[in-house]
Structure formats: structure tokens, C-alpha cells
């Protein structure tokens, strides 16, 4: 296995260095070199202080709220087998892929008036978007936890709350820490949600970076702010990885066939029903608004917007339905990249305990997408790195966002595999490749499938980098939605919402397909 190290560490490291660190460093360097407000002015400006403080606390609060909302559903998916379980775990991904502007507008329609603006709707919307992260990362890990310890404790008279506190929670914490870190970073760099639902008084560091770089063209201030942002993100990642390490290791893992069971008693059925019902209501209401608005044409309802999707339009340089094909092609490519690069990184992180790589893979989630986009522009403009117009740059940029998920889902599982299992296999004469194939892969294949589904969904929904890099005659669904929403006229607005509904359907179907295609070797499934 040691011989693999150059591969498992090297490939992800080169990928991140080339497509993340280098362009980001290039744009920050350019910014600091140019003129504009001095770094000290930016740092001591009271606005900066307010923005940083707001960004940090809203991200923390959003993370806590998301965990609170998602944990019951994670428990149900991690412990029970019931009809439609796979569909539920695919459907929670829907909010995650929808363009933020569309969701923000849908929220304005469902929130009661006093909750319409300010910090409260921001937190609620962040929870709406990120529920999938907790449900899938924590629920997926929960699925592999051996239920027998809990059962043993119950036999010995431990109360349910004590069992959760002393057994389940500590065992789950690596996955919880991983999910919390991802939700925190997403909320930390949130942009459109904060501007629309917060109103003009609220801004995150990311929104301020955009304002400085694009509206005011003060690249120096933007560079200073992105360094501030990066510092916060590195601190958060450091805390998260330490937390994950302190608590991880030695969890008794089993394949899901042995852990899931049908809800038997009336109490269990009630728990399953209530958890899923509450989640359904929370996620369903804003989504129902999207469906309703896609049908609202003329004075009543109809399918005119959907019919129009087949016709070429001046809004796009293509017929809207072509965006579906483009999205799927890009997302498939991005998923392959993310699973290969992220899978190698997960092995490296779990086996070599490489801290640098462990933290580094998370950084793209917390770094400024605006600056990274501008960085691509100036970093990849000359031979041999002339990639500005290369078609594969789109899936690469999407993979950058998806890789952290693959690592964060696969690595905790890998790390928790009892090393004695591997040692025993090696002792019995199994070569290292066989150990990986027969010990690691079967346990991890469920995680890889979940991660691939996630990666696919992320690439489907990715907007920031795609809108910057995708060719206009090959728009993806989120890009097409954004273009339609920017035009007045009933049919344009209805088509934007119709495409959002199509995006929802494509997400559910493709995630189900991707997750079915998991590794079947080893007899575990």
C-alpha cells in the first residue's frame, strides 16, 4: 500500500494546486500589487468588522439549525428500512441543486410577512439548502454503525437518551463534524441568499468581495477581504479536522444489510412517520411554489411554459431542452473526476493521516468563488496553461466543489475500519491490493455511491463557476434558469420555474441511477 502513496497523495495534491491554489494565488497577488484602498484601511474599516462578524455568526447559527432540522431524518434513514427509502435520500438533494436566486424568490412567497427579511429567513434558507448534507453524510455513516452495542446497552438498562449521549453521539461524531464543516463553509460563503432575503443591511464577506471586485473594481480591497475570508475558513477547517480526528476511529462498522430493520412497534412507526413528514413539509413548501409558478400562465394554469421549452428562444442561444443534455454531460464528467480524485484523496487521508491534504480538499468550499473565477481568467491565459476556452474546464471547476464531499463521506468510513481486520487479512497472506478489495471496498462502496450521487447533484446545480466558464451556446440548467429569470414577460418567468422543476426531476432520477450503480462485489449487497 505504501507504493500507492505517490498516487493517492500526488494526484489530488497536483489537481488542487493547479486548479485551486494557483489561480487563487494569481488573482490575490495581482490585487495586492495593484492600487486601491490600502490593506490597513480595509482591515480597520468598521464595515469590514461588521461584515466579518455577521458572516461568522450566521454561518455558525445556520449550521446548528441545519443539524437540528436534519438529525431526525438522518436517524430514520440510518436505522430503518422502509419502502421509498432510496427516493427519500435522493429527494433531500433537490434543494441543494436549485439555483439560490430561484429558492430565495420561492421563500419570499411562503414566509409569513414578519419573517420575510432579516437574519431569520437567511438561517431558514441555509437550513433548507443544506439539510441534504447532514441527512446524507450523517445518515449514510449511521447506516454502517453496528446497532448491537446500543442493543447491549439497552439490555443493561441504559435509557434511550443515555444511549444516544454515550454511545451513538460519540460514534457518529466524525460524520457529524464532517457534515457540520461542510454546512458551515457553504453558509459562510453564501451570497445571493443573504442579499435577497437579508435585505440591503446584510452582507457576507463573499458579497463584499463581489462588490469590491466587480462593482467598484477595487481589486486590492477584494484581495485583502479574500485573505480575511481564507483565514477564517482555514481556522474553521482546522477545528473541524481536529474534532473529526479526536473522535474518530474504532467505530464498529457493518454493511447496511445487517444494520437496517423495518420499523416494528407503533412507536417506531410514529418516529419514522413524524421525522419524514416534518422534513417533507419543510422542504416541500418552497418546492411546491416553484411547481405552482411554472404552471401559472394566463389567467389560470397550464403547460404552456413546458411546451415552450422545446422551441428556440432569444433568451438562450439554444432551445431550453438542450440545457438538460448539457447539464447531464457536464455533471457526468465532473462526477468521474470528483470520484477518482476525491477517492484517492480519501484513501490518502485515511491511511497516511495527511493533515495538509485533509484540510486542503475542504478549502475550495470556503474560498471566494468570485476570486477563483477571476483567477482562472488570468492564470490560464498563456501556453502551456491556455485553458480559458477549453470545454473540460467546466467539469473541472464543478469537481472542485464536489471533491470535498467525496473525501468527507468516504474518509470517515475508511478511517473507522478496524485495522485489525486488515492485519488479520494480511497475516493470512492476502496481498495489499486484495486487502483493499475485500476489506475496504465493500464497506466503503455504499459511501462511494452516496458520494457519487452527491457529486453528480452538486455538478448539476453548480452555478458560480459554470456561468463564468460554460459556453453560451451550451448553457446548463441553472444558467438557463438564471437567463430566463432576467427577462420581463410572463412566459419567460414561467419558463424559468419550469426549468427549475425539470432540474428537480433530473436530480432525483439521476441520483437514483448513480446510486444504484454501486459496487456489488464482495457479497455485501
Amino acid at each position: 500500500v505504501r507504493a500507492w502513496r505517490p498516487l493517492t497523495v500526488g494526484v489530488p495534491l497536483v489537481f488542487l494546486a493547479l486548479f485551486f491554489l494557483y489561480p487563487l494565488a494569481a488573482i490575490i497577488e495581482r490585487g495586492l500589487r495593484g492600487d486601491g484602498d490600502s490593506a490597513l484601511d480595509v482591515l480597520t474599516d468598521p464595515t469590514t468588522r461588521d461584515v466579518v462578524w455577521f458572516t461568522v455568526w450566521q454561518a455558525l447559527a445556520s449550521t446548528l439549525l441545519t443539524i437540528a432540522v436534519a438529525l431526525p431524518a438522518a436517524y430514520v434513514l440510518g436505522r430503518y428500512r422502509f419502502r421509498g427509502r432510496g427516493v427519500v435520500s435522493a429527494v433531500v438533494l433537490v434543494p441543494f441543486v436549485l439555483p439560490t436566486v430561484v429558492v430565495a424568490l420561492a421563500f419570499l412567497a411562503v414566509l409569513p410577512e414578519p419573517l420575510e427579511r432579516g437574519w431569520a429567513p437567511i438561517l431558514i434558507a441555509h437550513a433548507f439548502f443544506n439539510v441534504a448534507v447532514v441527512v446524507r453524510v450523517v445518515g449514510g455513516f449511521w447506516t454502517n454503525l453496528d446497532p448491537r452495542i446500543g442493543e447491549a446497552a439497552a439490555t443493561l438498562g441504559a435509557s434511550p437518551s443515555r444511549r444516544f449521549r454515550e454511545i451513538t453521539a460519540p460514534l457518529l461524531s466524525p460524520a457529524l463534524a464532517a457534515a457540520a464543516a461542510i454546512v458551515f463553509l457553504f453558509s459562510f460563503t453564501s451570497f445571493a441568499i443573504v442579499l435577497i432575503l437579508g435585505g440591503p443591511r446584510y452582507a457576507t464577506i463573499e458579497a463584499e468581495i463581489y462588490n469590491q471586485a466587480v462593482r467598484l473594481f477595487d481589486l486590492r480591497a477584494a484581495a485583502v477581504l479574500s485573505l480575511v475570508q481564507l483565514t477564517c475558513v482555514i481556522a474553521a477547517v482546522w477545528v473541524a479536522t481536529r474534532l473529526e480526528r479526536r473522535v474518530s476511529g474504532g467505530a464498529p462498522l457493518r454493511a447496511e444489510r445487517d444494520t437496517l430493520r423495518q420499523p416494528r412497534t407503533a412507536g417506531e412507526k410514529l418516529v419514522v412517520g413524524l421525522s419524514l413528514g416534518a422534513l417533507g413539509l419543510f422542504l416541500g413548501l418552497p418546492l411546491a411554489v416553484l411547481v405552482e409558478r411554472s404552471l401559472a400562465v394566463g389567467d389560470g394554469y397550464g403547460l404552456a411554459a413546458y411546451e415552450a421549452l422545446g422551441r428556440p428562444t432569444s433568451v438562450l442561444l439554444a432551445a431550453p431542452w438542450e440545457a438538460i443534455v448539457n447539464s447531464i454531460v457536464y455533471a457526468a464528467a465532473a462526477t468521474v473526476i470528483a470520484v477518482v480524485v476525491g477517492g484517492l484523496a480519501a484513501f490518502a487521508v485515511a491511511r497516511t493521516r495527511s493533515r495538509v491534504l485533509d484540510g486542503l480538499v475542504l478549502l475550495p468550499l470556503g474560498a471566494s468563488a468570485v476570486m477563483l473565477g477571476l483567477g482562472f481568467l488570468i492564470a490560464f491565459d498563456t501556453e502551456p496553461l491556455d485553458f480559458r476556452a477549453a470545454p473540460w474546464i467546466v467539469p473541472v471547476a464543478q469537481a472542485l466543489v464536489a471533491i470535498p464531499f467525496v473525501v468527507r463521506i468516504v474518509a470517515p468510513t475508511l478511517r473507522s475500519i478496524d485495522p485489525r481486520q486488515r492485519e488479520a487479512a494480511a497475516l493470512l497472506g492476502a496481498p495489499p491490493t486484495r486487502v483493499v478489495r475485500e476489506i475496504d471496498l465493500p464497506i466503503v462502496s455504499r459511501g462511494v455511491a452516496v458520494a457519487a450521487g452527491f457529486a453528480f447533484a452538486i455538478s448539476l446545480g453548480e452555478f458560480g463557476a459554470t456561468v463564468f466558464l460554460a459556453r453560451p451556446d451550451r448553457p446548463t440548467l441553472p444558467v438557463a434558469i438564471f437567463r430566463f429569470l432576467g427577462r420581463p414577460g410572463e412566459l419567460n418567468v414561467a419558463q424559468a420555474y419550469a426549468l427549475a422543476v425539470v432540474l428537480m426531476a433530473v436530480t432525483v432520477v439521476s441520483v437514483l441511477v448513480v446510486e444504484r450503480a454501486r459496487v456489488r462485489r464482495g457479497g455485501w449487497f
Partner: protein, 345 residues
């Protein structure tokens, strides 16, 4: 056999790269997300010039200019279209364009020409205006406001929704309209009164027009006045099925601020000849007459005919409000900061 294959591969690679010193086969137009052109018009240019027209959409106008400034001298394309009078001073200071005086310029409204050195050429103009919901005022039995000054009247309390000038192009244009009308610092008093009269500030046009404004089709908004465009009423007619006989929304003509969209040959272009041909083409009648229904703005050429929907439902303001690009560039940041202090804090 192998040698033939290698030669063939080299030949293919060379053709793909455009060859050694051969004529370029492509011209790249860098533009904003709202750019649109009919397929047959695009093909007409390609047949006439023998060049393939590649369109590179690079975000909104601010993002397009930012990208061009970052890549000055080594541009992403050959022609940039979409820089407007709010941003043109910044673009010129960044030296991203090469001068080119198109022969077609003779037919263009001289009031639209912003640069005497012709580093930028006007292509179209659109006006940001207050729009109002006709049915709402019929129901209220109230006359719709007639001017910017009217909107602070008690009768129109809680009826206006505007975009934040810090985050939105039409929002900035409306702030500039009030500055052009009341002068600096006279505009501040106007906005204080507007705030007292219950103006709602939202992040962008999408929320203002499709969610807050009551006049947009399908909207459940409650506010009957919004900052939008002079061409929004024809869009409400064209994109409704069946088409109504009259536009459901109206434009307050005295509130319009002019936005001129310009094109320029990018400095460092790999195809200067093609770039110039493209600018000429964008000023030709064929392209100019395609503009209204594609981009919902007005052609710069005086002899370009407007489509019937525009003749019937659009308002071309006779005396739109304007400010000099240099004045906008010098004060934009301060104005937006002061506006934020008055209206938001």
C-alpha cells in the same frame, strides 16, 4: 504508413490552430448575459465575412468590464459589446480598446457618441424608467404618478419598489436619474422623503419586478410602481399567451435615465480586420433592426425601423435624463455610499 499518419495529424493540428499566418477564421464577441441575436442575422454575418462568429457571454456588464480590465492587452476575444455609459469611463481608463471609426457611424444618432477618439461605438440605447401597474390604479381610482417628483406624494405611500444601486444596474440608473434631476447634493433630500414615504429596497431586478411589483404577469406583488425599463411594457405583451390588446403596464416618461450600450475593438485582438467588420455589422440596418425583439433595447441607427410591437407599446422618451460618464465614474462610489447611509441605515 506511420509517416503519413503523423503528417496527417500535424496537418489537422495546424488547421485547427489556424495555420501559419493564415487568415483567422473566427471572430469572438465578448458580451454580457443579455446579449441575443437572431440565428439568420448571425448567419448573414458569417456568410458575408467568411468568419465564424463565436459569442462569449461573461456575466453582467460589470463582470464583462472587470474581466476585460484584467485581461487588457491579452483579451478573451476580438470585440467587446455591452459596456454602458456607467462603466465606459472606467473601461477607457483601463485602455482595453483600440480606436476604430466605423463608416456606418454616419447613420447613428450623434447624441449617443460618447468618445471622440472612437474607442467605443454606440450600438443601442435603453432607458431605465419607473413602470406602473395600470389595473392597480384603475382599481384604486387614482391617477398613476406622472414624474419622479410625484412618487414622494402621500397618495403613493408604500407603492414604490427600487433595486439597491450597490448591487443592481437599473437600481444605479434610477439613483443617477434623481441626481441628474435634482443635482448633487439636492438628490439626498429627495431620497429622505422617499424613505419616509415607504420605499422598498430589494437586491435585484428579478425580485423587484417578478415578486414585488404587482403589474408583472403572474406576480402576487403588492407594489404598483417599480424601477424597470422603457421596453418592459412590450415584453409584457409579447410574452403573454394570448397577447393582450394593450400593455398592462405603463412607463413614467419623465423618470427615464438613458443607458447607452457600446462596442469596441479589444486591444491585442488576434483578428483586427474581423473585429472591425463585426463592429460595422453591428451598426448595419440588418443587425440594428433585429435588436429590439432580441434584447429589448432601441437601435442606435436613426433609420432602423422598429418592430410593430415596439411602435405600439414602447415609449421612447424624448428627453431622457443623462449624466456625463466622467462625472459618474468620479462620484459613483461616494453616491452609492451616501445613498446607503440615507436609505438603508
Amino acid at each position: 504508413m506511420r509517416a503519413t499518419l503523423v503528417l496527417l495529424a500535424i496537418a489537422v493540428a495546424v488547421t485547427a490552430c489556424g495555420g501559419w499566418g493564415d487568415e483567422p477564421t473566427e471572430v469572438v464577441l465578448v458580451t454580457h448575459d443579455s446579449f441575443a441575436v437572431s440565428e439568420d442575422v448571425k448567419q448573414a454575418f458569417e456568410t458575408e465575412s467568411g468568419l465564424t462568429l463565436r459569442i462569449l457571454k461573461a456575466g453582467d456588464a460589470g463582470e464583462v468590464v472587470t474581466r476585460a480590465l484584467l485581461t487588457a492587452g491579452d483579451p478573451e476575444g476580438d470585440v467587446l459589446f455591452g459596456v454602458d455609459n456607467n462603466l465606459v469611463a472606467r473601461a477607457l481608463a483601463g485602455e482595453i480598446f483600440e480606436p476604430y471609426e466605423s463608416p456606418e457611424l454616419a447613420s447613428v444618432d450623434p447624441g449617443l457618441v460618447l468618445d471622440t477618439e472612437h474607442r467605443v461605438t454606440p450600438i443601442d440605447h435603453g432607458e431605465v424608467c419607473l413602470n406602473y401597474d395600470k389595473t392597480s390604479y384603475e382599481r384604486r381610482s387614482l391617477d398613476p404618478p406622472d414624474s419622479i417628483a410625484d412618487v414622494v406624494d402621500e397618495r403613493y405611500r408604500d407603492q414604490l419598489v427600487v433595486e439597491n444601486p450597490a448591487t443592481s444596474t437599473p437600481g444605479l440608473a434610477f439613483l443617477l436619474a434623481t441626481i441628474a434631476l435634482y443635482g448633487d447634493p439636492g438628490w439626498k433630500g429627495y431620497w429622505r422623503r422617499l424613505r419616509e414615504n415607504g420605499v422598498l429596497v430589494v437586491d435585484g431586478w428579478e425580485e423587484a419586478y417578478t415578486v414585488r411589483f404587482s403589474g408583472a404577469a403572474g406576480s402576487r406583488g403588492k407594489r404598483p410602481i417599480v424601477v424597470s425599463y422603457a421596453s418592459s411594457p412590450p415584453a409584457e405583451v409579447i410574452f403573454r399567451d394570448p397577447r393582450p390588446s394593450a400593455a398592462p403596464t405603463g412607463v413614467i416618461e419623465d423618470s427615464c435615465f438613458r443607458q447607452i450600450e457600446l462596442a469596441g475593438v479589444l486591444r491585442g485582438t488576434a483578428n483586427e480586420e474581423g473585429a472591425r467588420r463585426l463592429v460595422d455589422f453591428m451598426l448595419s440596418r440588418r443587425f440594428q433592426e433585429d435588436i429590439p425583439l432580441q434584447m429589448f433595447v432601441f437601435p442606435a441607427r436613426r433609420d432602423a425601423a422598429l418592430p410593430p410591437e415596439f411602435e405600439k407599446f414602447a415609449v421612447v422618451p424624448e428627453r431622457p435624463l443623462e449624466l456625463a460618464p466622467e462625472e459618474i465614474e468620479a462620484n459613483r462610489e461616494r453616491w452609492v455610499d451616501e445613498w446607503t447611509d440615507i436609505v438603508v441605515r
